[in-house]
């Protein structure tokens, strides 16, 4: 009787991270009014504009390429991130995520898109803020779950491709590892092809994809 070798199982490097950051970029970097964000975020707390236990607003605009203005919630942080000299909205899940890596990433994308859509709506009448929709940056600061290694990058890339293909209707997705060698695993995404998406459309698509 022949003995069939057991299929080789590749050990997974990545597990479900507690912390995931997703950044979208402001289209017009020059006209973005940082000081206004303090008022905006305070109003968001008053109105419960975004889901979560909203705690406070924190001003780091004095820090070069820093977190800008932050809205602190128990579950997440949202910042007008200026890393790399480019202003955007970075949503970072801090705790309370659930599901697989893909489900957590999808939820984080939905959250940043919803926050971006809320800002677009709230600023529509004066000096409107618009977000670019063909570019995102993913940051995995939970080093225990997602080490900053090439193996982890390969695994996360596969998950991201699957999630992002849903979001962008099959448009070509390019994922590239960026950032400091000793920093958290950071991946830049750009979307190819001719498709056009508004933030609102992406939010609707993302919600339906999330079920």
């Amino acid at each position: 009787m022949s003995v069939q070798a057991a299929p080789e199982i590749e050990p997974l490097v990545v597990s479900e991270p507690q912390r995931i950051g997703v950044k979208i970029f402001v289209e017009d970097q020059e006209t973005f009014d940082r000081a206004r964000m303090i008022d905006v975020f305070h109003h968001w707390i008053q109105e419960g504009r975004v889901p979560g236990t909203l705690i406070d607003v924190h001003d780091y605009t004095h820090v070069p390429e820093g977190p800008g203005v932050m809205l602190i919630a128990h579950e997440w942080h949202l910042r007008t991130d200026e890393a790399g000299g480019r202003i955007g909205f970075e949503y970072e899940l801090k705790r309370g995520g659930s599901g697989t890596l893909a489900e957590r990433v999808r939820a984080a994308i939905v959250s940043v898109l919803e926050a971006g859509a809320a800002l677009e709506q709230d600023t529509a009448e004066e000096n409107p803020v618009r977000f670019a929709t063909r570019e995102m940056v993913f940051r995995f600061t939970d080093r225990l779950a997602v080490p900053a290694t090439e193996n982890a990058f390969d695994e996360v890339t596969r998950e991201l491709e699957s999630v992002l293909t849903d979001f962008y209707g099959g448009a070509p997705i390019e994922l590239q590892r960026v950032g400091h060698a000793r920093g958290p695993l950071t991946i830049h995404m750009s979307v190819g092809g001719d498709g056009e998406w508004s933030l609102a459309e992406l939010v609707i698509g993302a919600r339906s994809a999330a079920g």
Partner: protein, 760 residues
């Protein structure tokens, strides 16, 4: 994708992954703390006991952790997931908190910088905040993540142990130690020895409050700030029997806070071999005789003042004589005398610098000579002491390239690179510029020091950081108009009288207060002028007047312009303030004290950088040192601060003002106590005195066990004098101040008798 999960070879928890990188002792301590967290979760520890446990591990509360926040419209409840759980009295389990990380004498290796960057972005908000005592603080940290945070730090030799609580805090020292042009000798190894020796020492565990040590390499320069510390030494060399011996001019009993004290000289020359045993004996005397119940009187400065320096010294030396010999007393000296002052780099060919304007400005502001020829100290300006995790990682790379390894944090919330070759300066500037860390403003008037204030501190009254941001922008806007003598001044800001921003020692200091104006609470800053940063914080400034926060930039302009116009010769700012005097400075600012009505300018009714209408409702119970500070103690501290002001007024010859302030101090104390019985009690003096009489005096609650109603009667008489007209001669004002002090002491005693104080 392969979905068959196999456990990876590395453990999925930090404890397992870091394993032997953490020393056994520290590992056990962190495990124990994790166990205490679990015990608290299971209800097996009281709030008070657990609060002290976590504070001793450097785990603080933070603003809004009582679960309430005023959002500008109303006070809202913050509904956290584990709403039934608390981590201290009135402190929600899930509310984010602050972690303080000790860095003895502000030193960090580049490996430590990498890990600090990691933990800040993983557990906090990706910002590392350098404090005025060379610590690092992380904000918005969740309690249950602190053990892993501690393990990761411990793996690179950093502890948070006793970064807080009633213990010996971080041992600070001047950041130039070892490379300073004016040092007597390098105090670094001595600061390290004291830090190691007293960390967790059994004789330093029973304090009523914290104790802060500091060391300085010379007497004249400011970096060590020894005279504002609980104890510390200034390097001295003395010839004994023809041999040069090292020692310290040793001081005890300094401190800032509500009632600042200059340290007293303990010993003109404490020999180096006596440094550790004397520190141990000071700890033992402080633990034995220091106040335990009334926290606002429990710092070492009060014990030294109460006993007098002679008696305190006698007690310490008596204790020292009885100490069992400990090999650690002198073991560190072998290493000290081997000397570590040598350069990390060999000087090679030095090209002559031809700097452009940007580099030239940076060289002028941020670069200083070392005592070793060819090497420079480079200051890296951190705005408000903040640096991002990305910058920290980048800075570690730059430090590896240009300094070899270590970096030091300064008490002005900056960082210092030492042993930089002069020829490397252009390349270093370029590397720092890429990180956004090459601003040419270190140690100038626009390098403003500020405590966290209302941003994150539970005790903050006014927004110190908001004001600092605005003032910096304002002064930057003046550009070339800013006179050269003004550029060299220092501004320091505290959000309340606790003085974490060290405003007492600044040329121009501000500390946050609230004033009732037009029916609203209005954020103000008390203006303090003429503090002495040099000579190890040689003297404290004069409180001039409280100015609405919105008018502080204008007040700063007035003060600096007055100095430029009226200074005589090379007169220093401190000398100028002393010469022109408080009345003149008060007159200068008089119209800026006015607050427009809300309708005229609502901005006066908000803090800088915060659009919400100002409220004191967000202030919480402080955890600034160990056991939590109750609102009563906070109020009594405020009344003591007023006494200090009154005494200051009297010293300036203003008897009438002194008497008024002493009366106000009594009212604050009386109202603080009466509000426990009558929550809605306002500030009207008649109402306060009536409530005090009804609730505390008439039932005999306030009566002293020996003196009966004597101290309460002081309040009634002074209140009557105030209504009937009071001619304030110097002697009568002095008597009133003394009576006010006694009344406040009686208030403390009453509070101790009646409060549910849990001993530490």
């Amino acid at each position: 994708m392969n979905t068959n999960k196999v456990e990876p070879s590395e453990p999925r928890h930090w404890k397992g992954r870091l394993g032997s990188l953490i020393g056994d002792k520290l590992s056990r301590e962190i495990d124990a703390f994790q166990g205490q967290i679990e015990q608290k979760r299971e209800g097996k520890l009281t709030d008070e006991v657990f609060a002290e446990m976590r504070l001793r591990r450097g785990v603080y509360g933070q603003r809004y952790d009582n679960g309430h926040r005023h959002d500008g419209v109303s006070s809202r409840e913050l509904v956290f997931p584990n709403a039934e759980l608390t981590k201290g009295p009135g402190t929600q389990w899930d509310a984010p908190g602050m972690v303080r990380i000790k860095n003895p004498f502000g030193a960090m290796t580049t490996d430590q910088m990498d890990v600090l960057a990691e933990v800040s972005e993983e557990y906090a908000d990706a910002i590392l905040h350098v404090t005025t005592r060379q610590d690092i603080q992380l904000h918005f940290v969740h309690l249950e993540e602190t053990p892993d945070l501690m393990r990761r730090l411990a793996a690179v030799g950093i502890t948070t142990h006793e970064a807080c609580g009633n213990a010996v805090r971080n041992v600070t020292a001047c950041h130039l130690s070892g490379v300073c042009t004016t040092q007597t000798f390098d105090v670094t190894p001595y600061a390290a020895a004291v830090s190691d020796f007293l960390l967790g020492h059994p004789d330093a565990q029973e304090f009523g409050r914290k104790a802060k040590p500091a060391f300085s390499g010379c007497a004249d320069r400011p970096c060590g700030l020894v005279k504002m510390h609980d104890f510390g030494g200034i390097a001295r060399i003395r010839e004994v029997d023809g041999v040069e011996r090292r020692g310290f001019e040793f001081y005890v009993g300094g401190g800032l806070g509500a009632v600042p004290h200059q340290a007293e000289l303990f010993d003109e020359f404490l020999p180096e071999e006596e440094l550790l045993p004397i520190c141990q004996s000071i700890s033992r005397v402080f633990a034995r005789l220091g106040e335990k119940d009334v926290r606002s009187r429990a710092r070492l400065k009060f014990l030294v003042a109460k006993l007098g320096i002679e008696e305190f010294r006698r007690l310490v030396l008596e204790d020292r004589a009885g100490l069992a010999e400990d090999p650690r007393f002198t073991a560190f000296l072998d290493d000290v005398h081997e000397g570590h002052d040598g350069p990390l780099w060999q000087i090679e060919r030095q090209d002559k610098l031809t700097p452009g304007p940007q580099l030239e400005a940076w060289l002028a502001a941020n670069v200083a000579a070392q005592r070793q020829p060819g090497y420079k100290v480079v200051m890296i300006y951190l705005p408000l002491g903040d640096i991002t995790s990305d910058q920290m990682r980048g800075l570690a790379d730059v430090a590896r390239r240009f300094t070899g390894d270590t970096v030091r944090m300064t008490v002005e919330q900056n960082m210092a690179f030492r042993w930089v070759r002069e020829s490397d300066l252009p390349a270093l500037h370029e590397a720092l510029d890429e990180l956004g860390l090459a601003e040419a403003r270190a140690e100038t008037i626009t390098d403003i020091t500020a405590c966290p204030g209302t941003d994150t501190c539970k005790l903050g009254i006014s927004s110190s950081r908001g004001l600092a941001r605005v003032l910096q922008d304002h002064l930057d806007g003046l550009g070339e108009e800013l006179d050269e003598v003004v550029r060299g001044l220092r501004i320091k800001i505290s959000g309340c009288f606790n003085s974490c921003g060290q405003h007492h020692m600044a040329d121009i200091g501000f500390w946050g207060v609230s004033r009732k104006r037009n029916g609203y609470n209005v954020p103000h800053f008390q203006v303090v002028l003429g503090g002495q940063w040099a000579e190890n914080a040689g003297s404290y400034g004069l409180a001039i007047v409280a100015v609405p926060g919105r008018n502080i930039p204008a007040a700063t302009d007035r003060i600096t312009e007055y100095y430029v116009d009226e200074r005589e010769g090379d007169e220093s700012f401190k000398a100028f303030v002393t010469r022109v005097g408080k009345p003149s400075l008060r007159t200068l600012l008089e119209d800026l004290v006015e607050v427009p009505t809300y309708e005229q300018d609502p901005s006066f009714y908000s803090n800088w950088g915060d659009p919400r209408e100002f409220t004191l409702g967000d202030m919480g119970i402080g955890e600034c040192a160990g056991q939590v500070v109750s609102p009563v103690e906070f109020g009594l501290q405020a009344s003591e601060r007023e006494i200090f002001e009154a005494q200051d007024r009297l010293d300036q010859g203003d008897s009438s003002g002194a008497a008024d302030i002493a009366y106000r101090a009594m009212l604050i104390a009386a109202r603080t106590l009466a509000r426990e019985k009558e929550v809605g009690l306002g500030e009207n003096p008649d109402d306060v005195v009536t409530a005090f009489k009804t609730h505390l005096y008439d039932p005999g609650l306030f009566h002293d066990p020996y003196a009966g109603g004597k101290f309460g009667n002081y309040l009634f008489r002074v209140h009557g004098e105030s209504s009937n007209g009071f001619e304030a001669t110097p002697e009568r004002a002095r008597k009133r101040i003394e009576e006010a002090q006694l009344f406040i002491e009686a208030a403390h005693s009453y509070h101790v008798r009646t409060a549910d104080v849990v001993p530490v």
